[in-house]
Amino acid sequence: MIIIPYLTALTAYFSYVLLFVFGQLRDFFRKLIDWWKASNVQGYAPICLGLEDFYIRRLYHRVQDCFQRPISSPPDAWFDVMERVSNDNNKTLKRTRKVSRCLNLGSYNYLGFAAPDEYCTPRVIQSLEKYFASTCGSRVEGGTTALHDELEEVVAKFVGKPAALVTGMGYVTNSAILPVLIGKSLPKESSHLTTVPDIQSNPMPLQTSTWQSLRLYSGLIRLAFRQNNHQETCYFMTRGGLIISDSLNHNSIVNGARGSGATVGVFQHNTPCHLEKVLREHIAAGQPRKNRPWKKIIVVIEGIYSMEGEFCKLPEIISICKKYKCIMYAKAYVYMDEAHSIGAVGKSGRGVCELLGVDTADVDIMMGTFSKSFGSCGGYIAGSKELIQYLKHTCPAHLYGTSLSPPAAQQIISSIKVILGEDGSNRGAQKLTQIRENSNYFRSELQKMGFEVLGDNDSPVMPIMLYNPAKIPAFSRECLKRNVAVVIVGFPATPLLLSRARICISAAHTREDMVRALEELIQYLKYTSPAHLYATSISPPAAQQIISSIKVILGEDGSSRGAQKLTQIRENSNYFRSELQKMGFEVLGDNDSPVMPIMLYNPAKIPAFSRECLKRNVAVVIVGFPATPLLLSRARICISAAHTREDMVRALEVISKVGDMVGIKYFPAEPKKPQLEENRVKVE
């Protein structure tokens, strides 16, 4: 759950309102001018009606240069971004010959297979020479070569399912297979006369159109229906499927679900308990209007959410789906899209199941793409043998779509072999370690810097929250200026306020690349942080002080004082904290931390504690309302390595006394441990 700071939300809304108002003003003047010179396309309704393209004209065009940046090299760890210029305020962009070498933090090149590879590329070229670039036919129409068969076997083995089906494009895999699994009836023969009525008899326009257009088109719709009445019954009989989808699923899944015509239920992003609630509600309510029980329910989730960088909570979701089973093997089916996770996570790259320790048999349908980790194209569906046989007979992407290009298939086979170490080297394992280390390093460094980073550890996708619309292009442009290419994502793809930059880490990145990228991000912080822009710069002696002290800490002054200080502060803090706790104070914070807040709660106790301590020559800091929540006022003690043991003992004495006086020892002074132990002995 993302919590937006109040002020940020306010400023972000304000910026959007400003953009909208100015856009409307400009549109108004544009309309006046258009009205002046009459339109030459008579009789045709304009391609864009009203506000339809407002977003694109008035918002997107302002930041257009941040998207679709052309590159002129493979999308490896470093790539050449072609520079573009605009003479009309970003409305059109022209390519120039100039390129800038940038660090690539935008491509889904998780394992570094995007660039020509020593093992894969020669084999790909061999297969190109043998099978040529395309098959010019769908899989069933002579487009299946031995390579495709081999690929399906390799993929099935890799993901841990009995069989797999490979399609030519990842997006199509989702949007073509969901309708087959649930929803529409499929024609027995694929002649055009039987396929057409599928859509024709579809009542979708009826459901979605408003009353006005309904009245208007009822005649037309009736017309469309009348022609194929016999198909209708068949269509309605096979309905009754329910898709339960994560609220942040990818557009291809949304399209697939919409295309299936099935009822779609949505559960809160990655919240298993809400999934359970939605499941129960839907099962109890049955199909809309007819209240018949559902025929089948498919729960659709993603392995890694590409916009969030989070892993799905697979074990929990699986257990919930299993719970609602009644006969063996039947349950709410799980459909998992592993577009970003396959190959990138898990000990041997087998995706989320391996990472989270879930048996692949529990995920009924596993889908994934080859365009991310494997550096190729296409998508797959893996499942039981029967499922694949059925899909091969019915899936339109299989029946009508041009089959996967043989060189692309070879690329996948070779890269899987590298990942599994079947190429005779340990490059695959190295890559996997590398991407995990890289991701974790980068994530923790980003967090240390103070960015708000979403997502889980081990995930190579890390969104950095930007919130304000003005910061979206600023971040992208400033990074590009410093030769770091990042992806930014704004409104229609994310909720209005939650715009973000996304960083995809690759195994091809070296540690130097990462350090460099982090430096650049700091540069960005420098650029945008008001403290850096407006405050007086740090005074030279102060700078010198920082440098010297860092040197001492690192031991570069030739003594071990730095190390001693570090030990001292750790020991001091732990001693002080444990003593305070023993005394019965409520102390927040973790061990090893030199900052320990003592909770006071009552407003009267705030000054009392401070004054009484001061009387006894101990200076403490107290914090009250605007800095803390109203009720949670506290005293804060900061331990230093310069404190000696005597200092500490003295301070503890004073604090204990004052604590008794003020009444802030909220916990019993002596825990009753010995008694408990005695009891236990007796029982034994």
């Binding site: 065009h61 590159i71 040529f132 979708m204 109890a284 194209c377 007979h393 009508y400 779509g401 041009t402």
Partner: protein
Amino acid sequence: MDLASYVPTAFMESVKNASELITFAYDVPFARAVVFGVHIGGHLFVEGLLLVVIIFLLSQKSYKPPKRPLTTKEIDELCDEWVPESLIPPVTEEMKREAPVLSSAAGPHATINGKEVINFASANYLGLMGHEKLLDSCSSSLKKYGVGSCGPRQFYGTIDVHLDCETRMAEFLGTPDSILYSYGLSTMFSAIPAFCKKGDLIIVDEGVHWGIQNGLFLSRSTIVYFKHNDMQSLRSTLEKVTQDNKRAKKLRRYIVVEAVYQNSGQIAPLDEIIQLKEKYKFRVLLDESNSLGVLGKSGRGLTEHYQVPIDKIDIITAAMGHALASEGGFCTGSHRVVDHQVRTHFHYINLKQTWLTFEVNCIVLDFKIGMDLLSSGTWLINSSKCLMIIIFKTNMDLLS
């Protein structure tokens, strides 16, 4: 006494009783009372009573059956009782049949199960598959760019060859600009929802292929079919649609046809379609998947075949997995559409925004070389029906 005379008498009697009752009410002592100078007549008293009753009734809630939401236990029971169907219907023998597996390339001659066969299945219309020049350029691009672009167009998935290919394609067809898609099947079902929205009107041939059908469905527009390749049916449909409602003029209206129908092999009579389109003011979306590189003197598709200027057609899409022996698709449009889009600063951005990953660089390059071959001199037309090979020179002037 018989019933016929009894009923009126009974009725009269009851009326009499009632009037007596009312007179009694009038005669009660307080009925003639005067309050603040107002005579409280008996009827006022009765009316007052009635009013009270009405107000009382109105103040009552209308009767609703009590709502009892399902208890947790009941929901549990329902969940326990629920029996889902199996994920897929039982697999029939027919489904176990596997497609033939080629152990060679899908060229004109292929090997299946060790047997040499002549290939009539692939849409390799021009025989460009496996051309030496193509293979050279493919392998060099593979060495340079690798296989995948690892990102959608929006995010660093745009490689210079994609842009070159887009301009080249537009040049070849004589349109202002074009957009590449990474997969042929997805071209139509991305392009149609980009142009047609909810409430728009689409007239479509009933024999269009699955990609178009899916696009139509996803667009949520109102869809009306006409009989396959029947211009009479198209005319009457257009007539009916435009006559029935006057608001149709304010809607975006499209006719969707294929140039060469993938399912039936018929060629759409473009000249008649153009006439109808101009008469009824519809825009035309033409899918040239099977006609590009096949029809027309220099392979520019249906428009050249009928010698119709290309800007009469508003939107053209095509898959490149056929005659061009490549993969992917493209979408391009007439000057008028593009002009309009430039005017509204729309400029196809809608299309480009569809989140399709652009994957195969080598294949795009393959296509590019295919285009070069097409325009550089001799090329082959390998008609799917008669398998005749015609070699002729193209007019170089047309191209440059």
